[in-house]
C-alpha cells in the first residue's frame, strides 16, 4: 500500500476553484445564497485548520485531559446547536435533550473504543474522530426528531385538544407524536446504510483507504461506525423525546408547548 500524497498549499488551493461552479449556478438560478456559501466555506476552512492544529498537538502529546476537554467542547457545541433551533421549548425539555445527547453519545463511544477496538478511551487517535462522527450524527438526528415532533404538535393542536376534552391521558395523546418523530429521525441514517458501498463510498472509509489502510480493515471500521451511529441516533432521539414529552403536561393534565 502507498501512503497518501501530501498536498502542498498550491495544490490544495485548486480545490477552491470548484466553488466558482456553485457560485455561477447560484447566480444563474437566482439563488440568493452566495454570501452564505462563501461564509460557510470560510468558516469550514478556519474551523478545520484550527482543529488540525489542535489535533496535531494532542496527538504529539497525548494526555487524558486533552481528550476530555475535546469531548466536552464537542458535546457543548452540539447541544448548543440543537438548542439554538429549539428556543421555544421549556427548560426541562432542554435538559432532557442535553443529557440524552451527551450520555447516549458517550456510552456508544465508550463501547466502540473500549470493547470493540480494545483501545484506551484516552487514546486521541481513536476517541476524537469517532466521537465526532457519533456525536455529530446524533446531533443531526435529534434536531430532525425535534423539528418533526414540534411541527406535528403545532399542526395537530385540534387533535390534542379533542382528545384531552374527551378525557384521554396526555401520555396516550403524545406518545404517537414521539414515535413518529423517532421514525423520521432514524430514516436518513438507515437510508444511508442501504446505499452504502454501491452508491457511496463513505467518508471514513475513503479517508482510511486514501491514507493507505487495507480496504478490508477500512470496511470493517466503516460498518462498525455506521452501526454505532445508527444506535446512537436512535438512543439519543428516543431518550430526548421520551423524557422530554413528559415535561409538556402538568398534574392537571394540561398540555403546554
Amino acid at each position: 500500500m502507498n501512503s497518501i500524497i501530501k498536498l502542498n498549499i498550491m495544490q490544495f488551493s485548486l480545490i477552491y476553484l470548484l466553488l466558482i461552479i456553485i457560485l455561477a449556478i447560484m447566480k444563474k438560478s437566482k439563488i440568493n445564497q452566495m454570501k452564505f456559501l462563501i461564509v460557510a466555506s470560510l468558516r469550514m476552512t478556519v474551523q478545520l485548520v484550527l482543529a488540525g492544529f489542535i489535533l496535531t498537538y494532542v496527538f504529539k502529546k497525548p494526555h487524558p485531559l486533552f481528550v476530555i476537554l475535546y469531548l466536552i467542547a464537542m458535546i457543548i457545541f452540539s447541544i448548543g446547536r440543537v438548542l439554538s433551533k429549539n428556543r421555544e421549548i421549556n427548560r426541562n425539555f432542554k435538559i432532557a435533550i442535553s443529557l440524552s445527547l451527551a450520555l447516549s453519545g458517550l456510552f456508544i463511544l465508550a463501547y466502540f473504543v473500549l470493547v470493540v477496538v480494545g483501545e484506551s478511551f484516552f487514546n486521541p487517535q481513536y476517541t476524537i474522530p469517532l466521537a465526532g462522527m457519533i456525536i455529530g450524527n446524533s446531533m443531526t438526528g435529534v434536531t430532525l426528531g425535534m423539528k418533526t415532533f414540534t411541527e406535528n404538535l403545532k399542526s395537530q393542536r385540534n387533535r390534542i385538544d379533542a382528545l384531552l376534552n374527551l378525557g384521554v391521558e396526555p401520555k396516550k395523546i403524545l406518545l404517537p407524536f414521539v414515535n413518529s418523530a423517532l421514525e423520521t429521525a432514524l430514516l436518513p441514517t438507515m437510508n444511508n446504510m442501504i446505499g452504502m458501498g454501491i452508491i457511496s463510498l463513505p467518508g471514513m472509509m475513503t479517508g482510511q483507504i486514501l491514507s493507505g489502510t487495507e480496504p478490508t480493515t477500512a470496511i470493517m471500521y466503516q460498518i462498525a461506525i455506521m452501526i454505532a451511529i445508527c444506535t446512537s441516533v436512535c438512543l439519543t432521539v428516543f431518550c430526548a423525546l421520551n423524557f422530554g414529552y413528559r415535561t409538556l403536561y402538568n398534574e392537571r393534565n394540561q398540555i403546554h408547548f
Binding site: N158, R159, D161, A162, G167, V168, N253
Partner: protein
C-alpha cells in the same frame, strides 16, 4: 330549590375575565350567552379543567374542582369545542380511534348509528370524513362525543356551521336524548332563536361590564 351541578364563586381568569357567581342546573338545558370576548368558551374550559382559574373556585356536585382528577372530570364533563377534529378516515374508523384512545371497546354499528341519526348524519359508515362539509364534520364529532354518555355535555357554538332548520332539529334531538339519560347540558350560543326555544336556565356573561 333547584339542583346545582356546577357552581362558581368569585371566579376569574388571567385577571382580565371576572365572572359573576354562576350556577349550572342539573339535568337542565343551561345556556351561556354574552358578547364575544366575554369569556364564554374560557368558562367551559375552566369547567373541564383544561384551564386553571387564576382566582376563585369552581364546585362540581359540591366538591372543589381542584380536588378532582382532571381525566375523570373530563370523562364526566365532556366539552365539544368549536375546533372540530376528526381523523382522516371513515366515520367507522373515527369511532374506533376515539374509543381506542379512551381504552374502550368499539361500539356496535347499531349504537353508532343511533347517535349519528340524532345529529342528522345519514351517511354510510364508510363515508370518508375528509370529504364532508364543516357542518357535517361538526355533527359527526358531536355524535362521537355524545356516544360516550358523559354526565354533563358542553356544546360550544354547536350550530355555528349549520342552517336554521338543521340547527333546531339537532339541538331538539340532543335535548330529548339528554333528558332521557339525565345528562345536564351547557350550550354557548349566539343564536337567539335556539336560546329562546330551549333554554331552561340562561347565564349572561360580561353584560354588567357593557352597561357601565
Amino acid at each position: 330549590m333547584p339542583n346545582v351541578i356546577l357552581e362558581t364563586k368569585k371566579l376569574s381568569f388571567l385577571n382580565n375575565i371576572h365572572y359573576q357567581d354562576i350556577q349550572i342546573l342539573k339535568d337542565k338545558v343551561n345556556f351561556i350567552v354574552g358578547s364575544s370576548g366575554a369569556g364564554k368558551s374560557t368558562l367551559l374550559r375552566l369547567f373541564n379543567g383544561m384551564l386553571t382559574p387564576s382566582g376563585g373556585e369552581i364546585f362540581y356536585n359540591g366538591q372543589r374542582l381542584t380536588q378532582i382528577d382532571t381525566i375523570e372530570l373530563r370523562k364526566e364533563i365532556s366539552l365539544i369545542s368549536q375546533s372540530v377534529y376528526l381523523f382522516d378516515s371513515s366515520i367507522r374508523d373515527n369511532f374506533r380511534q376515539f374509543y381506542e384512545y379512551r381504552g374502550m371497546e368499539v361500539p356496535s354499528e347499531e349504537y353508532m348509528s343511533k347517535f349519528l341519526r340524532m345529529c342528522q348524519i345519514q351517511f354510510p359508515f364508510d363515508k370518508d370524513c375528509t370529504t364532508m362539509s364543516g357542518g357535517e364534520r361538526q355533527r359527526v364529532y358531536t355524535a362521537i362525543f355524545l356516544s360516550f354518555l358523559p354526565k354533563v355535555i358542553m356544546l360550544d357554538e354547536p350550530t355555528s356551521a349549520l342552517d336554521k332548520e338543521n340547527s333546531k332539529k339537532v339541538i331538539q334531538n340532543i335535548v330529548d336524548f339528554c333528558k332521557e339519560k339525565e345528562i345536564s347540558i351547557i350550550i354557548v350560543s349566539h343564536d337567539n332563536q335556539i336560546v329562546d326555544t330551549f333554554a331552561e336556565n340562561i347565564i349572561r356573561i360580561g353584560e354588567e361590564g357593557d352597561n357601565e
